[in-house]
Amino acid sequence: MSNKLSWFNVTSLTLGFAFLYIPILLLVIFSFNESRLVTVWGGFSTKWYGEMIRNQALMDAAWVTIRVSFLSATIATVLGTLAAITMTRYARFPGRLLFSGMIYAPLVMPEVITGLSLLLLFVAMDFSRGFWTVTIAHVTLTMCFVAVVVQSRLVTFDRSLEEAAQDLGCPPAKTFFAITLPLILPAVVAGWMLAFTLSLDDLVIASFNTGPGATTLPIKIYSQVRLGVTPEINAVCTVMIAVVALGVIAASLYTKRVEVERERAERAAVAQAG
């Protein structure tokens, strides 16, 4: 196979990247637009970022979103990890297949349905909608993602490590915190981050289950856009993109570094032994 880029490769690469990133690029560029009109370039300016920070409603929505995301991601991580452990460890219990199927169902369930069914539940329970209903709804949405991520790590987990700990006198619960959790922590953290971002940008489920005083950022942006797009919205979106991109890059750099260090140490050990 040749390593050279053929015209076909170049074209498909360009088209692919263009398709993915031109809309985002436009949004970022126009967030630095001097003009009030979103589609007309009026020179470079950062004034919309200033506007954004002074917009109290927008800042409130951002704060609500961060709180909801943080809380729901944390709860979802605990529940998702427990579900993953149950499914990998207890291979045979009645209804296991049904349970694992039902864990995955929300992954493919249309969000409209999830949102609506939760709304109906909260109404039936006479649960007043607001911060907590959005949080609970997001836990429902993101838990299965955490379960999938953690489960994929647990499948390759060497059970004899836990047996060794018990053999050395460590009771099962303590073994989980001393051995299992530290070793699956990267997967748990990855699950948490996934849940956090999912919750951060969810619009559909949040708008079904929100109430007074619990407007999340995506809802806020959506409702503002209906009144007309302002460069301010572009600024907010650019900040969100930056936050998410930084998070992803930091996480991948971290895992890469850990891997490289581990490999180097292993090579050193082999060299020394030989």
Partner: protein, 382 residues
């Protein structure tokens, strides 16, 4: 430490003493996984300070037996006693046995020292005592310099020693070793075998080791239990297992052996004459065992007890068969001659290469005579 291991080992035979108390006792233990019977109504006594090997092919139930002693599996029926106490219902973390895992199962997120200290911390041992014990263990396995390393920074042999140190740190009554040397190369394995024997003797522990490597079991054990399909086929000292196997299975599993099928044509006390199809003279053996006249039996003889020569041996008391040299394997220390008998069977004879033979006097396709004394082989009835 004085190296008096040899004579001590020779006189160590509590299984012959009817008054000796078993330290570990498996009593009619059966373990079923669904329809599969891993361990089948098995009883065995293991004595204090014994080095006991469970030997068998994979799937023979040896690992299950060990896991039941460690507490990871419970017997379906039967009892396991340790020093007279029934272990039923005692969880693994309360059993005074420690295990060295086949994969070593070192905690990857802890340093060597923390790995070794792990069990001691669970017991709530005071910190200075833990430090002292860890130092002592590191010295025992010669890893003082590696205390702060992580497991992935160690070589295979070093990891194996950390696993051993960790399992020994709590001074268990019994140490269980699951294929302890499986991951090491041959040289290192041999070295480690003797180290293990020294450590076992020095600390006065009872070792129960699971292995599929017969050489390992022969070298280290006081007694070996050969297992097949969840049962004990034979439990005996290495020499007994080798010289007096009780079945073709054991004879074939341990070392190399020639087996000839035949019928008992005459029996006088322990001396039997066995006629085998295609051999002109019956084989005479002084170890008839339980064979009766007319029985179908298998005559078994180790290749190193069969002498090969180009001329017929003069001594009329020897058993002699003649055949054609089919194959010669030169292994350095010994040569293996595979001789085809008139009935088509292949019989092996090994000859130690005592002198430096540049030219072998016996070559391919030569007509050769195989001979052995009457007490060299034995009859097997199963």
């Amino acid at each position: 430490m004085s190296k008096s291991v040899g004579p001590v080992k020779r006189t160590f035979a509590p299984w012959l003493d009817p008054n000796a108390k078993a330290y570990i006792r498996f009593e009619n233990v059966t373990k079923k996984f669904g329809d599969f019977t891993a361990v089948d109504n098995l009883s065995i006594d293991i004595y204090e300070r014994e080095f006991f090997s469970l030997l068998g092919p994979s799937g023979c139930g040896k690992t299950t037996l060990m896991r039941m002693l460690a507490g990871f599996d419970e017997p379906t029926t039967g009892r396991i006693l340790l020093d007279g106490n029934d272990l039923a219902g005692v969880p693994p973390y309360r059993r005074p046995v420690n295990m060295m895992f086949q994969s070593y199962a070192l905690f990857p997120h802890m340093s060597v020292a923390d790995n070794i200290a792990f069990g001691l911390k669970q017991d709530g041992m005071p910190k200075p005592d833990i430090a002292a014990r860890v130092a002592e263990m590191l010295k025992l396995v010669k890893l003082e310099k590696f205390a702060s390393r992580k497991p992935h920074q160690l070589s295979g042999g070093q990891r194996q020693r950390v696993a051993l140190a960790r399992a020994l740190a709590k001074r268990p009554k019994v140490l269980l070793l699951d294929e302890p040397l499986g991951a090491l190369d041959k040289k290192l394995r041999e070295e480690t075998q003797f180290e293990l024997m020294d450590i076992q003797y020095e600390l006065g522990l009872t070792f129960l080791i699971v292995t599929h490597d017969q050489e390992e079991a022969m070298t280290m054990s006081d007694r070996i239990a050969v297992m097949d399909l969840g049962r004990m086929v034979q439990v005996a000292t290495p020499a007994e297992i080798y010289e007096q196997p009780n079945s073709r299975y054991v004879a074939d599993f341990i070392g190399d052996i020639n087996i000839l099928e035949g019928t008992v044509a005459g029996l006088e006390g322990p001396v039997a004459k066995v006629s085998s199809a295609g051999l002109d003279k019956p084989i005479v053996t002084e170890h008839a065992g339980t064979a009766k006249s007319g029985d179908t039996v298998w005559f078994a003889i180790r290749p190193e007890k069969v002498r090969i020569s180009l001329d017929p041996p003069a001594d009329p008391a020897l058993n002699v068969v003649s055949g054609e040299v089919w194959d010669i394997g030169y292994l350095g220390d010994v040569s293996v001659y595979r001789v085809k008998l008139p009935n088509g069977a292949i019989m092996k004879s090994t000859l130690a290469n005592v002198t430096r033979l540049v030219e072998r006097p016996i070559g391919w396709d030569d007509k050769a005579y195989l001979s052995w004394p009457r007490d060299a082989g034995l009859l097997l009835t199963s």
